[in-house]
Amino acid sequence: MKITVVRSGGIAGISTSWEVTIDDRDDRDSWIGLIEQLPWGTAARTRAEPDRYSYRIRCARRQVTLAEQQLTGPWRELVERVQDAAG
């Protein structure tokens, strides 16, 4: 299973993406635990703040787009983990 994070926007408007495949990883179970507890599909669209980042997170058939201000709690944990794992 692949997890992809695409960060777009920011004043520079430069998109960056990070990707991790968890199937063969030793810590596979903890990734799945984190993914399952995420509130997929419940993120409401907020009023966009100028020049903030926008995060698109995709995992198998699930996808969510979050404003930077919404990237808190387990969402932030997931994104930082993907960024670290992707190097």
Binding site: V6, S8, G9, G10, I11, A12, G13, I14, S15, R47, A48, E49, P50, D51, R52, Y53, S54, R56, T65
Partner: protein, 382 residues
């Protein structure tokens, strides 16, 4: 403004000189309206010339005391947190006060605003980011005040707050609805975001847009919101450097990239799509004309991407008109965003409104209106 041969300007300068030398008094009462009419007070208050500092200050003081609408306006907008449109008011009723800046240090956290490190009039310290933010806010406030008679970003003398050192290695700067926020950059791709005056101007202009046209930050209206920030960000820098349209770089965020990046800036209004071409970052993706317009879901529908098109239209109009871009071209764009522009305006609606604004200020058959209409045609917006 200096060296102007405009007869009206000379007339104002004579009166300004008379006030400065005490030959004409500017009494802070309604009587002063008979001595110096309100429109002259307005222009005097805005004179960007140290020789008339005293006259300008006197004119400002006079208008400040004669402003019965001010307290009512403050009550209308408690906190002013949310985007609100400000009704246009008679010019003589508005006060134009100097900036009231506060710079905070977020201490590399994401808590805002952070610790106060410099207040208005306070001395510069050792922290370069604080100095750059303070000076940049001042330059931006000055462009809007002196070129367009706008009293701070809300046109009601809103204090200007900015936080520096936000987050860790944070590669961004933004306006959060109430204040500006600047990251230090990661040091590999980006330097600190206060190092570019056009970036500081860009962020503050998001505040101006919020309080005027309030363009929805999505799709074409979002790209216009972005472009307006680039336009006035560039104009802040050009005015500070005393560069005419022909001499200016028309770059946004020049010098933000470290030496390791193949690129000169974040964007180019003169040649969108040419600001950087780097093996890690890729190539500047901005289109200059509608033939390169791209639909995307990312970045709120490509607001930083398609803004290249209205950016280039402004550049073309400014180059055609020549001289200082903040004067006629900037005035037309300023009139457009403070007019009755819909919040969901697309490129076509905006283009029409700029031509209308040029006609209203300079005449239907003016070179200004023709230059604006030709610029939009060249970028393919009809």
């Amino acid at each position: 403004m200096r060296g102007s041969s405009d007869p009206g300007q000379i007339h104002i300068r004579r009166i300004g000189a008379a006030i400065a030398t005490g030959r004409i008094g500017v009494a802070p009462s309604s009587m002063s309206c008979f001595i110096v009419p309100p429109y002259l007070l307005e222009r005097l208050a805005n004179l960007d010339d140290p020789r008339f500092e005293r006259a300008a200050a006197a004119a400002r003081a006079s208008r400040t005391l004669d402003d019965p609408f001010r307290s009512a306006r403050v009550q209308e907008r408690p906190g002013a947190r949310q985007a609100q449109r400000v009704p246009r008011e008679p010019i003589a009723r508005r006060t134009l006060e100097p900036p009231l800046r506060t710079i905070y240090d977020a201490g590399n956290t994401e808590s805002l605003p952070g610790r106060v490190v410099r207040k208005e009039g306070g001395p510069a310290g050792d922290d370069q980011s604080v100095t750059e933010a303070y000076d940049g806010l001042g330059r931006t406030h000055e462009l809007f005040r002196l070129a367009y008679s706008r009293a701070s970003i809300d046109d009601n003398n809103l204090p200007l707050d900015a936080s520096v050192h936000y987050g860790r290695d944070y590669d961004n700067a933004f306006w959060n609805g109430t204040q500006m926020v600047f990251g230090d950059g990661d040091g590999t791709v980006f330097r600190g975001f206060t190092s570019s005056l056009s970036v500081i101007g860009h962020e503050l202009t998001h505040g101006v847009t919020q309080y005027s046209a309030n363009l929805e930050y999505r799709g074409q209206s979002g790209a216009l919101n972005e472009s307006i920030s680039d336009v006035f960000g560039a104009l802040v820098e050009q005015r500070a450097l005393r560069q005419g349209a022909a001499e200016a770089s028309w770059l946004i965020g020049a010098g933000l990239f470290t030496d390791q990046v193949q690129g000169v800036a974040l964007r180019s209004m003169m040649a969108p799509g040419t600001a950087y071409d780097d093996d890690v970052l890729g190539k500047d993706p901005q289109p200059a004309t509608m033939s390169g317009y791209r639909e995307t879901e990312d970045d709120n529908g490509g607001v930083h991407l398609n803004s290249g098109i209205p950016n280039h239209a402004f550049y073309l109009a400014a180059i055609e008109l020549g001289g200082n871009a903040w004067e006629r071209a900037g005035q037309i764009w300023y009139d457009t965003i403070t007019g009755s522009l819909p919040e969901t305006a697309d490129f076509s609606v905006f283009a029409g409104r700029t031509a209308d604004a040029a006609a209203a200020r300079y005449g239907a058959d003016s070179v200004e209106r023709r230059a604006v209409a030709a610029a939009w045609r060249k970028v393919g917006v009809t």
